[in-house]
């Protein structure tokens, strides 16, 4: 058995919705059957074999080669298996993903991990805005699972995020953890303005002092024993966060304009 490999033939003119191409949906299908699956691209429908060269037979180990940022919804609602992506991914990577894992060697567009409720998403690169956020109309962003980003993330990381862990090794844009409901976000690099805007609950781990708006309240510096346990749980992860062992923080509570049960912990 070799990994089922989908190699993009040429740069698409339009965005392509790749949501039918997940390990669980392809399980047990022959190359011919997979080739006949229809993909929506703008107002056209394209056959999978018109877009990709298909090889291999193990659908539980799916590989996208030569991937481009026009391929949206990779790993949509995926329930099992593994997807490895070489190249960039489009928007909605891991949208409503439930289980399994996705490794991206490249950059991803907006709304990565939106609505994700389990599994892991490992991005060796940067992501666009709205990482782990809710799409308009949804009331919850990411609902579980783990996201690791080695590069930077855009604005609104974790908007309305409800559960799960997002670890970002680079910088993030403005409105990080806005309207966050619960969960954990860690950012090693810098953080833009309005961090924790409308944050209701949840935990934000920062390693540099951001500019804070008026409704985040300084609660003083603390030594928090739970951090030791948390970082221990990170120790097995393929991320720089695995090497951190700190438990002395400056704690801010907020957003006081919206319940104020969230906490921003800044390591000193």
């Amino acid at each position: 058995m070799s990994a089922l490999t989908l190699t993009l033939k040429s740069i698409p003119q339009q965005r392509i919705d790749c949501s039918p191409l997940t390990p669980d949906k392809l399980a047990g299908k022959s190359v011919a059957e997979i080739g006949a699956i229809e993909l929506q691209s703008g107002k056209l429908t394209l056959r999978t074999d018109a877009v990709f060269d298909i090889s291999g037979d193990d659908a539980s180990d799916l590989v996208f080669m030569n991937c481009r940022d026009k391929l949206d919804y990779i790993g949509n609602a995926m329930q099992s298996g593994r997807i490895i992506i070489h190249g960039d991914a489009g928007w909605y990577l891991g949208f409503h993903m439930k289980k399994g894992n996705i490794v991206l060697h490249g950059h991803a567009g907006g709304f990565a991990a939106s609505g994700m409720s389990g599994g892991t998403l490992h991005i060796h690169g940067s992501v666009g805005d709205y990482l782990a956020s809710a799409i308009p109309g949804d009331r919850k962003g990411m609902k579980g699972g783990l996201v690791i980003v080695t590069g930077n993330a855009g604005d609104r990381v974790g908007d309305q995020m409800r559960r799960g862990i997002v670890l970002i090794e680079g910088n993030v844009g403005a409105y990080c953890a806005s309207r966050m409901l619960a969960g954990t976000i860690g950012v090693m690099g810098s953080v833009g303005d309005y961090v924790g805007y409308g944050m209701r609950r949840g935990t934000l781990l920062l390693f540099s002092q951001p500019r804070l708006h008026a409704t985040l309240q300084d609660c003083g510096s603390h030594t928090l024993p739970f951090l030791k346990l948390m970082f221990k749980s990170f120790s097995g992860l393929p991320s720089k966060f695995a090497a951190i062992h700190l438990n002395r923080v400056q704690r801010y509570a907020g957003d006081l304009a919206n319940d104020g049960k969230g906490e921003i912990l800044i390591f000193m």
Partner: protein, 558 residues
């Protein structure tokens, strides 16, 4: 062009025809007499063995107006999860509970419906409602203008103005908003809500105007009757959804003192307070009262399980219900200082005691009201369920075994509280044709619709007579709209744009002086800008205004 529909089994309750094999002839959109021998038949459809009825009429369905748009805006997930792709004929759309205008029209036609009436056209928002209805293809439409909680009306009542003046105002409102009737929603309650009242019983005074819902109902029922408007006052009662509201509903029936009144989505107003959970069925009492009082008609507002959204002008009730919304979001808002509106998404669950009992109460009312001419088949789309579930509802009414099987799978506590399983009645095709065609047309005042007599508009639906009534009503063989074939085998073959039905009762133009003063002083737009003209409906070349006959102004009745 002369079309012959030959040999179909006709169900035409308006003419007492119950399943008789007959030919129907259609010329230029109308049903005509049998032509002379030798006249050329341009098209013939052999309908031997098929069931032929007039096009169905939904006399209460929220398909236009501000609140529907709010519901659409608020529920992107409803649209995302139910896309409707475009075809060669039809445009794309989406939406399960609140479909886009075009999709709503297509889906109605595909089910054999040829008319639908928007029951809550707020006069101030009538233009929006007509624009949306104008964008709903395939079916005829019309709207009931909402009165009863607007300040001008309550001022007139509080000032003890003459009934004649009120009649003029009511007639002016129908004309200005291009309505076909008058609806009152939570009589006076929407206004009382703005004065911080959270409940308003039938004899409770509005804290500012001192007016009770009973006075509002009686005055409006009388006004509609005296103006000769065929559709009786369309009443969404007080205390919607409140356990014990069966008393309010019964008192409302008595309160109009014999004037005709239509009680809408009566299922939501038929709750008692018996049992451990203080929530029980009042269906038997309601049905008994309807059977006894011939001036009362009702539509049921059946709930069916699944995700939907409740959109209502009844801000007071929706404010109470907002916490129970699923998904948890809601809108309650004032509209132009003139009325209110509330939109709350809802998911009815068969294992939930209250929902299961609501389901049973609706069916009990259907089955216990004897006269199908005075009870109508609605789900109060989308409040009880989307209109697309009508075929399922028809099967529940026509198939006792199916109904009892469904009932047996519901919440056990709810089953204990309902007598549904002991009711043996099954609706016949004739009775379904009354409820959804002849009766509805008569109630709304559509003189040339809902029947298959000579002179009627050729809105005709043809079904295959199969035992599974859900399948039968889901997918008609043919649907004709004004003589044109629009649906074949459940698929659209031609897109047409229905007309807008209205009534134009006479009134004394002198009333405009008072209305204009009020608009100038209090409201957000000028009186003349509020009026919807025929041109606005017909201007795009596809809409048409049909004025249905009014009986003429009656003399003072009391």
């Amino acid at each position: 062009m002369l079309i012959k529909l030959s040999g179909g089994t006709i169900y035409d309750p308006a003419h007492g025809i119950d399943g008789k094999a007959m030919d129907i002839f259609v010329r230029d959109g109308r049903i005509v007499e049998k032509p002379r021998d030798g006249e050329r038949i341009d098209q013939e459809y052999n309908l031997a063995g098929k069931v032929v009825m007039a096009g169905a009429i939904d006399m209460h369905t929220h398909i236009g107006g501000g609140k529907v748009n709010i519901a659409r805006t608020m529920l992107p997930e409803d649209h995302r999860h139910d896309p409707a792709a475009h075809s060669d004929l039809c445009r794309a759309g989406c939406g399960h509970a609140v479909p886009s205008t075009l999709t709503a029209g297509y889906r109605y036609a595909e089910m054999g419906y040829t008319a639908g009436f928007e029951p809550a056209v707020l006069p101030m928002n009538a233009r929006q409602a007509h624009l949306e209805m104008g964008d709903t293809p395939m079916i005829d439409k019309g709207g009931y203008a909402m009165l009863g909680s607007d300040d001008l009306f309550l001022r007139m009542l509080a000032a003890k103005q003459d009934q004649n003046a009120i009649n003029d105002y009511v007639a002016w409102t129908i004309a200005a908003s291009q309505g076909i009737g008058i609806k009152v929603v939570n009589a006076g309650g929407i206004n009382a809500f703005k004065f911080n009242q959270r409940f308003l019983d039938l004899d409770e005074q509005n804290s500012y105007y001192g007016i009770t819902p009973r006075e509002v109902l009686k005055t409006l029922a009388r006004a509609v009757h005296e103006l000769g408007v065929p559709h009786p006052l369309h009443v969404h009662g007080n205390n919607l959804g409140v356990p014990g509201n069966v008393e309010t509903t019964l008192n409302s029936m008595a309160g109009v003192e014999g004037y005709p009144m239509h009680l809408t989505h009566i299922q939501f107003h038929s709750y008692g307070t018996e049992g451990d959970r203080k929530f029980s069925s009042g269906a038997a009492r309601i049905a008994e009262a309807i059977n006894k009082q011939k001036n009362i008609s009702a539509d049921v507002g059946q709930i069916l399980f699944g995700q939907t959204v409740t959109a209502s002008g009844d801000q007071m009730s929706q404010f109470r219900n907002a916490g129970a919304g699923s998904p948890h979001k809601s809108v309650c808002m004032d509209i132009e200082c003139d009325a209110g509106c509330g939109v709350v998404p809802f998911k009815y669950k068969d294992q939930n005691f209250v929902n299961a009992l609501q389901w049973a109460i609706g069916l009990e009312i259907f089955l216990l009201v004897d006269d199908p001419w005075r009870i109508f088949l609605t789900t109060d789309h989308p409040n009880g369920a989307p209109f697309t579930s009508y075929p399922h509802l028809i099967k529940l009414l026509m198939d006792k075994t199916f109904r009892n099987d469904m009932f047996a799978s519901l919440n056990l506590d709810a089953q204990k509280m309902s007598t549904l399983a002991s009711i043996d009645r099954e609706y016949s095709l004739y009775e379904i044709a009354i409820m959804t065609r002849a009766g509805a047309a008569k109630l709304v005042g559509l003189h040339d619709r809902g029947h298959l007599g000579v002179g009627a508009a050729a809105d005709i639906t043809v079904y295959t007579d199969i035992a599974d009534r859900e399948k039968m009503f889901e997918k008609p063989d043919y649907v004709f709209k004004d003589g044109q074939l629009i649906v074949k085998d459940g698929n659209i073959v031609r897109v047409v744009w229905g007309a807008t039905h209205t009534v134009k009762p006479e009134f004394d133009r002198g009333i405009e002086k008072e209305i204009k003063q009020y608009f100038d002083k209090y409201l957000t737009i000028k009186m003349d800008h509020m009026k919807v003209s025929n041109d606005e409906i017909e201007g795009d070349g596809r809409g048409k205004v049909i004025v249905q006959e009014c009986k003429g102004r009656r003399e003072k009745t009391a």
